[in-house]
Symmetry: C2
Amino acid sequence: MRTRLLSAPDLALLVRRVGIDTLMDDTIARLFRSCRDYDVERFDIPVRSGFFYTSPQTGLLEWMPAHEMGRGITVKLVGYHPANPSRERLPTILSALLRFDTVTGRVTGVVDGNFLTALRTGAASAVASRLLADPEARTLGLIGCGAQAVTQLHAISRVFDLARVQVFDVEPTVSASFRARVERLGIEQLTIETVAPEAVVAGADILCTQTSVAIGAGPVFADRNVPPRLHVNAVGSDFPGKTEVPRSLLERALVCPDVVAQAVHEGECQQLDGDVAGPDLPTLVRNAVDGRYPHDGVSVFDSTGWALEDHVTAEVLFAHADRLGIGADIELQSHGHDPLDPYGFVDNAAPVSAVDAARTARR
Amino acid sequence: MRTRLLSAPDLALLVRRVGIDTLMDDTIARLFRSCRDYDVERFDIPVRSGFFYTSPQTGLLEWMPAHEMGRGITVKLVGYHPANPSRERLPTILSALLRFDTVTGRVTGVVDGNFLTALRTGAASAVASRLLADPEARTLGLIGCGAQAVTQLHAISRVFDLARVQVFDVEPTVSASFRARVERLGIEQLTIETVAPEAVVAGADILCTQTSVAIGAGPVFADRNVPPRLHVNAVGSDFPGKTEVPRSLLERALVCPDVVAQAVHEGECQQLDGDVAGPDLPTLVRNAVDGRYPHDGVSVFDSTGWALEDHVTAEVLFAHADRLGIGADIELQSHGHDPLDPYGFVDNAAPVSAVDAARTARR
């Protein structure tokens, strides 16, 4: 009973072989198709749940399950620990994903969720922006220049012909290092400037917010000089009380959550009274005309993070890995010759972990 | 950022090195202590949730999270697919467990959950039986002789001086093979007989039920000739509508669930009206007098499976593995030199998975 393991070095190899742009393009395309074909009869995706704690550090650990009937289940485990970069030199968001078949319930795959989460969060904003933003958008604004900002820029640069990026972070060292962190993305022609948050907003065609703003401390920009057709991807709001976008802006905007039930609980939609959330991501995709959802004025994609995004991104990663023979087959789950003997696996012939023997060699 | 992987071959080595009896004894002792010290202020263990489906096979996949404040989080993913043994030659219950630290949210360990679930389910019945059954119990009855029956016998044989085991399974081949499946347990002196279910019940001091009875098809034995001081470990009831014990017996017994909120939803307690469940496992342990919870008459341990059991069993396995240097350190979760660069891990020096390099060698 084999489980395919895609660890960090496996994914590094995958990126080198496939290319980061192709992986992002595939994720965007796959997410777009999955939203178009999304059928609540075929998917069971409960609102995520988790543990929140303030000791030893402020942290959140959540489980995000998704069941695609007849095709499989994925469960992503994801932590949000905002002190990680400064205290531990680790990413704020750490994650892993398991996939299961629904014939036997066995674990068919385990994959790093850090890279996956970054990819899919970018891809979701790309899908929403393509549907909601001005197709001629040239200027991207970024508020919050951490890890998620890199993939926001990357994803949006794949679907818009960007000319300029204006960025702001409350930590000057973080905005200062942003250019170096996106150099691998082949966007040499882009102007990247650090400016004040009001200038980021005023100059943007598309604005992405991805901050670690504290609970109750939002918004992260003022509702002043907002361009009349601005599209906002509000990425950082993903916990009760944590919001980034001014309420007055939300009240006049077309607000599109990834998934309504989650967004009203932990997204920007928390700030809206009653049932005023606009179409969710699948509804946007299905009602697009010539690739765009018809609307005027300001739009906000309320991106809380949806397990469907993780589910399809895992498919992209495993499909490329399978094709290229990347990853290891491990004997994660014990069983002996007799399925009714829980200790029978102890007698199994191989005395050494199958990891060593089974690691595929087509490198 | 290393994750300790305990795969099936690692656990096989662990069992050979430590001994299955020591692992069971340690799990029983650790669970007993954890119940005694259990403090709802220190643990957050939500009622489990999951996906239930009838296509392509009848199956259930659940997540069982447990947060021990300041010490860590475990999340067990567990599938129940009753057609596995006959159709796939795989165990009915397949599982894996991840552990996390709550400082950073990283995955500190991944371990096979099949062996762990078998161990802990046995250990829970041993703890409950020691508290509730006649200390002089000599005869164990087993209804349902699959994988979980092996660990029920194993665990109870570690805390009672058993002389005789009477077993029944609706599949004669399953009861016939039971003896062979418990031979490794060093219980040569035990008489093991296959008898009719009513004889199993009538002869038992302790009775364990662990069947795959269909939803709505219970009970699995009749309330006739029940010994007046019988203790029942009802192990198989773990889903709405799935029950094993006659309602009339429950109504006159002291019914002790592992965790009340779960048992009333999916355990034998489903059959009881209103708030008539007895003390839960921690309450039993804390109110023991000379190691036994004072009561007369029939008792039932309503074992639905509790994430605390998984949490402490994982501790036992990881502690032995760490001590013996068993397992592999894998780079499951990606991160580069700069925690703010989600793609930085692609540049990491090691081009080959850390699994190969880091597997510990003290075998």
